[in-house]
């Protein structure tokens, strides 16, 4: 049970990141590599604030703000300096690496063991043992559901419509007398705010900041989005945002299965098994889609 629980917990943490990646990759059609640095940015802000005695709850808006700023910079570099999307992400990812070290008080690894976090504080300590085990997953679930609902709501506002339009067909945005570039910048800011929030939560969950924790974050995000949206494409009752959240949990489940010793001839084969599992999931989505077509 414990391993299922921890898999879900980590899936939920990365689900917040995946929601951010969903905005850039699926809605804005912008491959945003800055994610690899904005994820640890959120964690760096969090670790530094907590070691300086600030309340863990404060770290959530603070890291979101930091992430939003970084995302906006990616957008400005792309829109105002006319740098290719991939490259502007790379520029921010590279520059932010040093900045992250600065934010983390020049430490590549900053532990926050022994201090209060979202998951370990006076409140959770007061819970009866039977409930305490589920406290992290419940806190995370609440947070992810909140993020998802906010995003669903936002995408149905006028601003949200415009955001969807700019990725879909920038000409329409111009025709609406709106600056598509500004809309893109806003979208990148929102996306990276979510990514940094995910980093913030991860930092409090693992109770240390580590500069390398962002390596491959974009890969996890993209995989979650693609797994989620491919597998649940034709389930109209399931919003894309929910699909992305489930995608993230499935991603972590794949890794967990690959890690479980029974499947591995050698520990080195873990990544290969993970890759095969991804492929299986995507193939499953394809089979399901064909069935739906056959019935239609």
């Amino acid at each position: 049970m414990g391993i299922v629980l921890s898999t879900v917990e980590q899936g939920l943490i990365y689900a917040i990141l995946a929601l951010g990646v969903y905005i850039t990759y699926k809605i804005l059609d912008f491959p945003d590599l800055s994610v690899d640095s904005t994820f640890p940015l959120g964690a760096a802000v969090t670790a530094t604030m907590i070691t300086n005695g600030m309340h863990p709850l404060l770290t959530l808006p603070a890291s979101m703000l930091a992430g939003a700023l970084a995302g906006a910079v990616t957008g400005i570099i792309h829109v105002k300096c006319r740098v290719r999307d991939l490259l502007s992400g790379i520029i921010v990812m590279t520059g932010l690496y040093s900045l992250n070290l600065r934010v983390a008080q020049d430490k590549a690894n900053l532990p926050i063991f022994g201090t209060d976090t979202l998951f370990k504080n006076g409140l959770t300590a007061a819970l009866p043992d039977a409930v305490a085990d589920y406290a992290p997953v419940l806190i995370l679930l609440a947070l992810v559901v909140l993020c998802k609902l906010c995003m669903d709501w936002f995408l149905r506002t006028r601003a949200g419509y415009l955001l969807r339009a700019v990725g879909d067909n920038p000409t329409v945005v111009t025709a609406l007398a709106k600056d598509g570039g500004m809309v893109k910048i806003q979208g990148l800011a929102i996306a990276n705010a979510l990514v940094a929030l995910s980093g913030c939560v991860m930092c409090q969950y693992q109770r240390f900041f580590e500069i390398s924790m962002g390596t491959g974050a974009i890969v996890i995000g993209l995989a979650s989005v693609i797994i989620g949206t491919n597998l649940f494409k034709n389930l109209s009752f399931l919003r894309a945002t929910s699909a992305v959240v489930i995608g993230s949990i499935l991603y972590k489940a794949c890794v967990a299965i690959a890690l479980s010793s029974g499947l591995l001839p050698k520990p080195q084969d873990m990544k290969f098994v993970t890759a095969v599992l991804f492929l299986l999931i995507l193939a499953l989505g394809e089979v399901r889609r064909k069935k739906v077509k056959a019935h239609a």
Binding site: I3, S6, Y97, A108
Partner: protein
């Protein structure tokens, strides 16, 4: 939907199989290693040897679940959480980030974490300033014998003034090692020139800039730099400057010499600690340990290539890596 259910059922079955209960007097331990890396592998082998010496033999009364995070933090966390949720008797964590992840994951369970290859357990919050544990955790530190290394370089290169060090800014262990190098270097008449990189790809450029400024290079246990050692040796060789390693594996690969830790010995020492914990001692009651003795490892071919001869007094205690 049915297929999805099938997958989920399969998942649960696989997981429960992995968690099957141990029988009789068998102990079950998990080894979580951060990356594929010669020194860390030696650590792991040493650890198992240390346990075996104390009566815990893999395959007889010891079951080992070894997993490697392949330098991925996300996977490191999953390994840690997975191990902490099993009914293991002990987790051995090799290298700092995964040691922290295991310590965090096992917090609240009664599974002790024994770490090794953590350079600065205090900075990593795995131990307090006075050496006592911060929880159900203890282990060994692989702090570099920096003073011995400086002494060795001085005796091999009496004329040298500048030592170059390449390190990656992402590794907390490298930072503390650099600080110590810089503090001790003046005592031996050296100046330290550092060059920080963030990825393997930066290494060639950083070397081109660094090599002309220095008389020799000295390595840390920096994972990024060490993984590109052949390239580093190549470039330094072209410039005719010796490279001093930080442990025996590097000397085997072609570094001139090293006052180094024997990671196998370090692992063995950790294994002995783990044996004490398995026999009933509380991990929290065992202070973390540092290897104080270093040995001089020498690669005579590499030394000859840069025209250095080993002084008599050093030759007596030197270990020729070609004999290992």
């Amino acid at each position: 939907m049915k297929k999805l259910l099938c997958i989920l059922t399969a998942l649960t079955m696989v997981l429960t199989a992995g968690l099957a209960l141990a029988e009789g007097e068998t102990y079950r331990i998990g080894i979580a290693q951060f990356a594929e890396h010669g020194s860390l592998d030696n650590c792991r082998e040493g650890f198992l040897a240390g346990l075996a010496e104390n009566g815990f033999v893999e395959g007889e009364n010891l079951e080992v679940d070894y997993q490697n995070a392949q330098a991925d933090m996300g996977i490191a966390n999953q390994i840690a959480q997975g191990m902490a949720s099993g009914d293991l008797d002990l987790i051995c964590a090799i290298a700092t980030p995964i040691a922290q992840a295991c310590f965090n994951a096992a917090d609240g369970t009664d599974i002790p974490t024994i770490y090794t290859a953590v350079t600065d357990p205090v900075a990593a919050m795995l131990a307090t300033e006075d050496g006592t544990a911060t929880g159900n955790v203890t282990g060994t530190s692989d702090k570099l014998p920096i003073e011995a290394q400086l002494k060795m370089i001085r005796s091999l290169m009496p004329e040298a003034t500048k030592i170059g060090i390449l390190y990656s800014t992402s590794e907390v262990n490298s930072e503390s090692a650099i600080a110590e190098y810089q503090a001790l270097a003046p005592d031996y008449g050296f100046e330290i020139v550092v060059s920080g990189i963030s990825a393997t790809a930066d290494i060639p450029l950083a070397l081109d800039a660094l090599l002309p400024q220095v008389d020799c290079l000295s390595n840390l246990t920096d994972n990024t730099v060490v993984s590109s050692l052949p390239l580093l040796l190549d470039k330094a060789g072209e410039a005719g400057k010796p490279v001093f390693g930080s442990e025996v594996e590097q000397v085997k690969l072609g570094c001139a010499a090293s006052e180094g830790l024997d990671y196998f010995a370090l692992g063995k020492q950790t294994g002995a600690m783990a044996a004490r914990v398995l026999s009933g001692e509380a991990a929290a009651d065992i202070p973390y340990e540092v290897i104080s003795e270093s040995s001089l490892y020498v690669n005579y071919d590499a030394l000859a290539a840069v025209g250095i001869e080993l002084p008599e007094d050093q030759a007596a205690r030197a270990i020729d890596v070609s004999t290992l």
